[in-house]
């Protein structure tokens, strides 16, 4: 009985994770430029990964396997924003300009003006 419940919970988490991963993969193909695709990759790296690993945790029970699954999640959650930021910095330094509207929030006292976007980004 309890195994049936655990299997059902695992299936639920795997289903949700797979749907999120599929949307993320679709976003990698559909979104307009590299900076927008960073957000789709962020979806894959955060909730997609976490949902699938949590689903597997219910299958493993209270063992070292669960600890390892948690460690994978922690490592990826710590490293994925660093990768996103490094990639964005490398792209800006390499002359890539994202096709984005520049808005100024009312709060910052001295907003910095970046060079304006020009539709589709260009390669360095």
């Amino acid at each position: 009985m309890i195994e049936l419940v655990l299997d059902a919970v695992t299936a639920l988490f795997l289903l949700a994770g797979c749907i999120l991963l599929l949307i993320g993969g679709f976003g990698l193909l559909r979104l307009p430029d590299a900076f927008a695709r960073l957000h789709a990759a962020g979806m894959i790296d955060t909730l997609g990964l976490a949902l699938i690993l949590v689903g597997l945790m219910f299958q493993a029970g209270l063992t070292l396997v669960t600890v390892k699954l948690g460690l994978i999640a922690v490592f990826v959650l710590y490293t994925s924003p660093v990768v996103s930021h490094a990639l964005a910095r490398a792209a800006l330094a390499g002359g890539f300009r994202p096709g984005a509207r520049h808005v100024v929030l009312p709060d910052p006292s001295s907003p910095k003006s970046l060079p304006s976007g020009s539709g589709e980004g260009r390669a360095p």
Partner: protein
């Protein structure tokens, strides 16, 4: 259940590979390969459960760390054309 998850992961990995092939800039390709690495980690974990051998998780753990180091190294190489000291002056001093 695990087989279905593996199939879904394969589809998403195909999307990432397609993005890496299409480009158009080198940053799209780096991003796609980073996502591909994350998906590979998930794939190894799910495959371990599919074949009843969760020892695969050690490989997934190491793959996650190597994927991070590799992506940072490629970003740095593309930015500075060098893995050593930065060459573009103090404005972009380091990644």
């Amino acid at each position: 259940m695990f087989a279905a998850a593996t199939a879904a992961l394969l589809v998403v990995m195909g999307c990432a590979l397609l993005r890496a092939l299409l480009g158009p800039t080198v940053y799209d390709r780096i991003l796609a390969m980073n996502s591909f690495g994350t998906l590979t980690v998930l794939m190894i974990a799910v495959l371990g459960f599919l074949s009843g051998r969760p020892e695969f998780l050690d490989i997934a753990l190491v793959y996650a760390l190597i994927n991070f180091i590799g992506t940072i190294a490629v970003c740095k190489y593309v930015m500075f054309t060098d893995l050593g000291s930065p060459t573009r002056g103090p404005e972009w001093d380091d990644i």
